[in-house]
Symmetry: C2
Subunit: 269 residues, 2 copies
């Protein structure tokens, strides 16, 4: 296989298999070429990925040495993407009765969802995460997007147990904004003891749902390494229950009468 | 930018932007090169994509001419992938009380979900689909995977209306297997009149849910171009309500006593 063909094959392979550690010998036989040619190919791909803000190829040497693709958004890409999201969300047409914002169109666009996943995965790249946990239903697409860049599975907590998921562990918790008691369940076989997880959800106000998941995960001895929410809203009446989290956008205020929405970049540090 | 660098940049661009029509002049300025160089690059990428079973680059000439990437799985890839899925699903450890099969681990793996999406998107590639519709919650990841390859948005019908989605249209329907009356809602602003859609779900027995979505979509004058379900189960007691559909795997029988599951490739034609 010629270099030009190899570059297309290898680029596709890395993009489809983030964080998967591959020995160079795999590529040598895949492309019927020499180790030194593959090594030069990897240098080219690494340089382009870095210059385009797509991440990098991480090389290890020695016995069992190889390469893995670490997708990491350049910070200016993330900032630019988030500012564009804020502009879209500030459209007064989005205001719904009760002061809610219609966001289903944005969260229904696979490309936007994928970019959101890329931003979170870049933030959480060094945290050694084994699984992404979310609660049904609006966080699900975001959780898959994050998980695909981290190369880990998604585990979904639900409001009701499902007969197709076998026995489950459930907890009751108090929803922050509605002050109602809610239930959340996780199938027993979904999570091994001692897993490192990140929690992803679409929206956080007082943080009751996130606290609920955290408590449920404690039943599995899972360690919550990071929490990511797409949008957070200020909640003056409540003290926020969750302290350490990453949010992409923050809904500062929704003025129903004057139809003005104030959206700013969230808590990315 | 040198050819080797351009090939990495362009391959990444096409994989991230399936079915998006791009004029060559865009790439000419992106890569600071000539139209003829870009044209040669596209020939190389097209040849590799075809030989690897990843799809093809579709070129159009004349004013407004350009190129778009059409992801299409080679049929033998799809067949191989589906046979491997059948083997995994036939593991007797998956049997749950009531004769259900545990599939959440497979559907929680982003790479498996993406491959399932690729198979459906390849099947539906020529149908001119504008949106993918699913019903919460288990079909959601599959719907996003299909939509990302078709380059279209996802629209989610729910069991209950959500305050964050505004006014909605709802229907009641009879679930085939449980004979219970269920409700399904779709936000009013989620779907324009006359949209061409495909329906994606994880599981179909008698087909009540699919029939429910179809009826709900009729309220929006949407045209259902295709129906794709991951797994179908034989239902001896019921006549199937849905006639034309694509399924990846078929659960022929689950023998609870002898712990034998019979899974075969589904209805791919």
């Amino acid at each position: 296989m010629k270099r030009s063909n190899r570059l297309v094959v290898l680029t596709n392979f890395f993009l489809e298999n983030p964080r998967k550690h591959i020995q160079l010998s795999y590529f040598v036989s895949l492309c019927s070429t020499t180790k030194s040619s593959i090594s030069e190919d990897l240098d080219i791909i690494h340089a382009v990925f870095e210059s385009q803000g797509l991440g990098l190829l991480h090389r290890t040497t020695g016995a069992g040495g190889g390469v893995s693709y670490i997708p990491e958004n350049a910070e200016e890409h993330s900032d630019q993407f988030i500012r564009a999201l804020c502009d879209k969300l500030a459209d007064p047409e989005r205001i719904l009765p009760g002061g809610y914002l219609y966001m289903s169109d944005l969260l229904g666009d696979p490309k936007t969802v994928r970019e959101i996943g890329r931003v979170f995965a870049s933030k959480f790249a060094k945290l050694d995460i084994d699984a992404v946990v979310t609660v049904a239903t609006k966080g699900i697409p975001l959780a898959y997007a994050v998980a695909s860049f981290l190369g880990v599975p998604v585990i979904i907590a639900r409001r009701d147990p499902k007969v197709t998921e076998g026995s489950s562990v459930s907890i009751n918790y108090v929803s922050g904004s509605s002050r109602k008691i809610q239930t959340m369940v996780l199938p027993k076989r979904s999570l091994k003891e001692g897993t490192n997880v990140c929690i992803i959800d679409d929206f956080m106000k007082a943080g009751g749902t996130i606290t609920g998941i955290t408590n449920l995960l404690a039943e599995f001895n899972a360690e919550v390494k990071a929490i990511g929410v797409f949008a957070e809203a200020d909640d003056d009446d409540e003290e926020r229950k969750v302290e350490s989290y990453t949010s992409l956008v923050k809904i500062s205020s929704v003025d129903l009468n004057r139809k003005i929405i104030e959206i700013v970049p969230g808590n990315l540090n």
